[in-house]
C-alpha cells in the first residue's frame, strides 16, 4: 500500500483531484441539505408559491455558480496564503497583481482584435495566450514589488511591511489608472467579443423540467483553476524548490544554515503567487467582461477571507476556504430574497457570508483546516 501512495501519479494527480472533488462536492452537499431543510421549515410562511419547488428549481444552477467563483477565489487565495506561510505577513498588494493580470489579458485580446486576427484565431488558444502573458506579467510584477517594497523591510517589525503592502496596493491602482489614461484614455477595460464560450451546454436532468445550463466559460474557469492547483501542488510537494519553500516556511534561519538561498526562495514564492494571481485575473475577466483599475479590491478581499477561513498559511485550506466562501455567497444571494419573501435581498449576501466566517473563526480560530505547520506553504 505504501508503494501506491508514493506513486507520483497518485500523489500529484489522483490524490489532489480527489481532494478537490471531495471539497467541492462536500461543501455543495452540506449547503444544499441545509437550504432544502430551511425550505421545508419556511414552507408555510410563503403562500404565493411552493418554496420547496422553487428552491429545487434553481439549486443546481446555484451550486454551479458558487463552485465557479469559488475556484477563482481559491486561486487568488493561494497567493495570499503562500506569502503568509513564508513571510508571515499579508501581501495586500496581491489584489492589484490579480487586477493587472486581468487587464493585461484583456489588452492582449483587444490587441488581437485591433490587428484583426481575433475572429479567425482559435478561441481557446487566445485564452491560453492571454493567461500565459498575464501569468508572466503578474509574476514579474509580484517579484518587483517584493524587491522594492518588502525586501528592504525584511528585519522590521511585522506591521511595517503590512503598511508597505497597503501603500503598494494604492500605488499600483493609480499607476494602472495613469497608464490606461495615457494609452487608451479609457477607464473601463472591456473584453472584446469573440468565440462561443458565452454559450451554454444544456444537460437534461431526468425528473426536472428545465435542463441544467453550464456556461462554457465556467468550465474553462474551473478547468484552468484545477490545472493551476495541480501544478502548484506538484511544485510545492514534488520538487526541490518546493522542498526549499517548505523549509523556509518552517524555519527561515535553519533553512538558511542548510544552504538554502532564502532571498531567492522568497522571490520564487512571490513569483508563484503572482503567477497564480495573474491567471485568476484572466479567468475573472472572462466572467466579469469588464475590469477597471479598482476591480481587484473586492475579489482580493474575498480571496483573503477565503485564505483566513481555510486557515491562513495552509494551501489546502485556501482551496477549501475559497470553495466554501464562493458557495456561501452564491446560496445567500440566490436564496435570501426567496426565503425572506423579499425582506432581505441579495444585497445582504456579504453580511451573511461574513457572519458565517465570524462564527467559524469563533469556534476554530485558526480556520477550517488550521495552520498545520507541516503543510504550511
Amino acid at each position: 500500500m505504501k508503494n501506491f501512495t508514493e506513486n507520483p501519479a497518485y500523489k500529484f494527480l489522483l490524490f489532489p483531484i480527489g481532494q478537490i472533488s471531495v471539497f467541492a462536492i462536500g461543501a455543495s452537499v452540506v449547503l444544499s441539505l441545509i437550504t432544502v431543510l430551511l425550505a421545508f421549515i419556511f414552507k408555510f410562511n410563503v403562500t404565493d408559491f411552493d418554496l420547496v419547488e422553487r428552491t429545487m428549481l434553481i439549486l443546481p444552477q446555484v451550486i454551479i455558480n458558487g463552485v465557479t467563483i469559488g475556484f477563482v477565489y481559491a486561486t487568488i487565495a493561494l497567493g495570499y496564503t503562500m506569502v503568509y506561510g513564508v513571510l508571515e505577513f499579508i501581501n495586500f498588494s496581491h489584489s492589484e497583481i490579480f487586477m493587472v493580470g486581468g487587464i493585461v489579458g484583456i489588452q492582449l485580446m483587444a490587441y488581437f482584435e485591433h490587428i484583426g486576427v481575433l475572429a479567425t484565431m482559435n478561441e481557446y488558444l487566445v485564452i491560453a495566450l492571454a493567461i500565459v502573458l498575464a501569468m508572466a506579467v503578474s509574476g514579474s510584477l509580484a517579484v518587483v514589488v517584493e524587491r522594492l517594497a518588502y525586501k528592504p523591510l525584511r528585519g522590521a517589525p511585522k506591521l511595517v511591511p503590512l503598511i508597505s503592502a497597503i501603500g503598494m496596493s494604492f500605488f499600483l491602482q493609480d499607476a494602472v489608472r495613469l497608464i490606461l489614461s495615457l494609452t487608451t484614455g479609457e477607464f473601463n477595460v472591456i473584453l472584446p467579443k469573440f468565440g462561443t464560450f458565452d454559450e451554454f451546454w444544456k444537460i437534461a436532468i431526468p425528473g426536472m423540467e428545465d435542463p441544467l445550463r453550464i456556461q462554457i466559460k465556467s468550465v474553462i474557469m474551473v478547468g484552468t483553476a484545477v490545472l493551476m492547483l495541480l501544478g502548484l501542488n506538484f511544485l510545492v510537494n514534488g520538487t526541490k524548490v518546493g522542498k526549499a519553500i517548505r523549509a523556509v516556511a518552517q524555519d527561515r534561519p535553519s533553512a538558511s544554515l542548510m544552504g538554502i538561498n532564502v532571498n531567492q526562495i522568497i522571490s520564487i514564492t512571490f513569483l508563484v503567487g503572482g503567477t497564480l494571481g495573474g491567471a485568476a485575473g484572466v479567468l475573472f475577466a472572462l466572467k466579469a467582461t469588464k475590469l477597471d483599475p479598482f476591480s481587484g479590491f473586492f475579489p482580493g478581499l474575498k480571496a483573503f477571507t477565503s485564505a483566513v477561513l481555510g486557515g491562513i498559511g495552509n494551501l489546502t485550506g485556501a482551496l477549501l476556504g475559497g470553495l466554501v466562501l464562493g458557495l456561501l455567497e452564491s446560496f445567500a444571494a440566490s436564496y435570501l430574497g426567496i426565503f425572506t419573501n423579499g425582506a432581505f435581498g441579495a444585497e445582504y449576501k456579504d453580511i451573511f457570508a461574513f457572519a458565517i466566517l465570524i462564527l467559524v473563526l469563533i469556534f476554530r480560530p485558526s480556520g477550517l483546516l488550521g495552520q498545520t505547520v507541516g503543510q504550511k506553504a
Binding site: S181, F331, E347
Partner: protein
C-alpha cells in the same frame, strides 16, 4: 537602498507628470490652457470695445464632476461642456474687465471626495458660481457646503428630488427629477409595453435607490407584480442574482443605476437566458453601455431607458454646439454636455447681472440671488428657475436602444417625449 528607492520613485513621478502634460487631452487637461483662451477673448473684446478697463479682478467658475473613474465619460463631458460655454459666452464679463477662469474639480463620483473638494471650492474666494455634479449622492452632501457659503451651484445632471426640495437658495438644476422620471418609466412599462411583472434592482446609491423606490411606488399603484426589489454593489459576477431572476422570467427588469455596472448585469442576465425587456433611467445613457452589454440590449425584449437629457437630435439648437464641441475636444458630446453648457450659461448670465448691479465683483449671495432671476434661452430650451431651483417644466425622454455597439448609440430612437411640471417641494 532606501535613498535609491526614493530617487527611483521621484524619477517615476517626474516622468509620469511629463507624460501627463503632453499626453492625450481627453484624459488629463492642464488648466494652463484656460488663461490663454480667455486672453485671446480679451484681446478680441478689447479690439471691438473702446479700451477695456484694467482688470477688475478674477472670477472663477468651478466644475465638479468625476473626471477619473468608471463614470468619467459623463463627468468629463460635463467639464468640457462647461468649458466650451465659458469660452463662447464669457465675452460680456471679459469686456467688463474681469478675468474669467474655469476651476475644474474631480469628485471621483465619491461623496467624500466631493465634500472635500467643496470645502476647497468654498475656500477660494474668487469662485462665484459652480457647475456640477453628475451624481446626486455626491451633490447632496457637497451642496451643504455650498449652502453654508452662499455659493450658487447649477446642476446639469442631478435628478434626485432632495437636491432641490431642501429649498436652498444656492442649489439649482437644469434637468428634471426622479420623482417624475421613474413613474414615467413605470407608466411606459405598464401601458406601452404591457408588462405584468417587474424585477427592480438598484445600485444602493442615493440616485439608484431613490429612482428604484419611485418606480416601485408607481408599480404598486398600477398593480404591477414586483418579483423582487434588490440592491447590489457587485460589479463583476451577477450569477447569484441572475439565477432566481431567470427562473421567474419577469416581463421587465428595471435597473436603477449607472451604465458601467448595469451593462455587465444585462449581459450576464441575457447570457443566462433572460428574455424580457431591460429598462433603466438616465444613468444608462452612455455609449459605453453598448460596448459592455453588446447585443444583450437588442435581443429578447430589447432595452429602453428614460432620460432627462435627450439626445442631440431632440434639441434643434444643439447642432452647432455639437460641431463646436467636436472641433474643440475631438469627440462627440456625451449626454449632459449640453446641460453643462447651459448650466455654465446660467452662471455667466447671473454673474454678469450681479456684477452690473454691484458695480464690481459681486458677492456670492448676490450671484445666488441673480441665478434665480436668470431667464435665458439655452441649448436645451428656456431656462428659468422656480423658488426651489427647479425648472417649472422639464422634459423627459424615453429612448429605445437601436444598436449593439458604441458607434450606433446616437441612433437610439426617441419613443416618447413628456413635458411635466415640477412637483415642487412636495409635502
Amino acid at each position: 537602498m532606501n535613498k535609491r528607492l526614493l530617487a527611483l520613485l521621484s524619477l517615476l513621478v517626474i516622468a509620469s507628470m511629463a507624460l501627463a502634460a503632453c499626453g492625450t487631452p481627453a484624459a488629463t487637461e492642464a488648466p494652463a490652457e484656460e488663461p490663454a483662451a480667455t486672453e485671446a477673448a480679451a484681446t478680441e473684446a478689447a479690439a471691438t470695445e473702446e479700451a477695456a478697463p484694467a482688470a477688475m479682478g478674477t472670477i472663477k467658475i468651478a466644475t465638479q464632476s468625476p473626471l477619473s473613474g468608471g463614470q468619467s465619460l459623463l463627468g468629463v463631458a460635463i467639464k468640457q461642456g462647461a468649458e466650451l460655454a465659458l469660452e463662447q459666452l464669457s465675452g460680456d464679463l471679459v469686456a467688463m474687465g474681469y478675468d474669467v477662469q474655469l476651476a475644474p474639480y474631480d469628485d471621483q463620483a465619491t461623496p467624500d471626495v466631493g465634500v472635500a473638494n467643496a470645502k476647497n471650492i468654498v475656500a477660494d474666494s474668487e469662485i462665484l458660481c459652480g457647475v456640477g455634479h453628475l451624481n446626486s449622492g455626491v451633490m447632496i452632501p457637497s451642496s451643504e457646503e455650498y449652502h453654508t457659503a452662499n455659493l450658487p451651484f447649477v446642476s446639469p445632471a442631478n435628478t434626485n428630488p432632495v437636491v432641490t426640495t431642501r429649498g436652498y437658495l444656492e442649489v439649482n438644476r437644469v434637468v428634471g427629477r426622479d420623482d417624475v422620471q421613474a413613474p414615467a418609466a413605470e407608466e411606459f412599462a405598464f401601458t406601452t409595453l404591457g408588462a405584468k411583472s417587474v424585477y427592480i434592482i438598484h445600485d444602493k446609491t442615493a440616485y439608484g435607490q431613490g429612482v428604484a423606490e419611485f418606480f416601485r411606488g408607481a408599480a404598486e399603484e398600477d398593480g404591477l407584480e414586483i418579483v423582487a426589489f434588490e440592491g447590489t454593489e457587485e460589479t463583476a459576477n451577477f450569477d447569484a442574482i441572475v439565477t432566481p431572476l431567470v427562473a421567474t422570467q419577469p416581463d421587465v427588469v428595471f435597473f436603477a443605476g449607472i451604465y458601467n455596472q448595469a451593462g455587465v448585469f444585462f449581459k450576464q442576465a441575457r447570457d443566462a437566458g433572460y428574455e424580457g425587456t431591460f429598462m433603466g433611467t438616465d444613468g444608462m445613457d452612455a455609449s459605453d453601455l453598448a460596448d459592455i452589454a453588446g447585443d444583450a440590449l437588442t435581443t429578447g425584449g430589447g432595452m429602453y431607458y428614460t432620460t432627462v437629457a435627450g439626445p442631440a437630435s431632440a434639441y434643434p439648437k444643439a447642432a452647432t454646439f455639437a460641431a463646436d464641441y467636436e472641433a474643440k475636444f475631438g469627440v462627440a458630446p456625451e449626454p449632459f454636455a449640453a446641460q453643462a453648457y447651459d448650466s455654465m450659461a446660467v452662471c455667466l448670465a447671473a454673474i454678469t447681472a450681479a456684477a452690473e448691479a454691484a458695480g464690481g465683483v459681486p458677492t456670492r449671495l448676490q450671484v445666488a440671488e441673480a441665478v434665480r432671476q436668470v431667464s435665458i434661452d439655452g441649448l436645451t430650451g428656456a431656462i428659468a428657475f422656480d423658488d426651489i431651483g427647479d425648472l417649472p417644466t422639464a422634459q423627459y425622454f424615453i429612448l429605445k436602444v437601436n444598436g449593439a455597439t458604441k458607434d450606433t448609440w446616437n441612433s437610439n430612437e426617441i419613443v416618447e417625449i413628456l413635458e411635466v411640471a415640477s412637483p415642487g417641494k412636495g409635502e
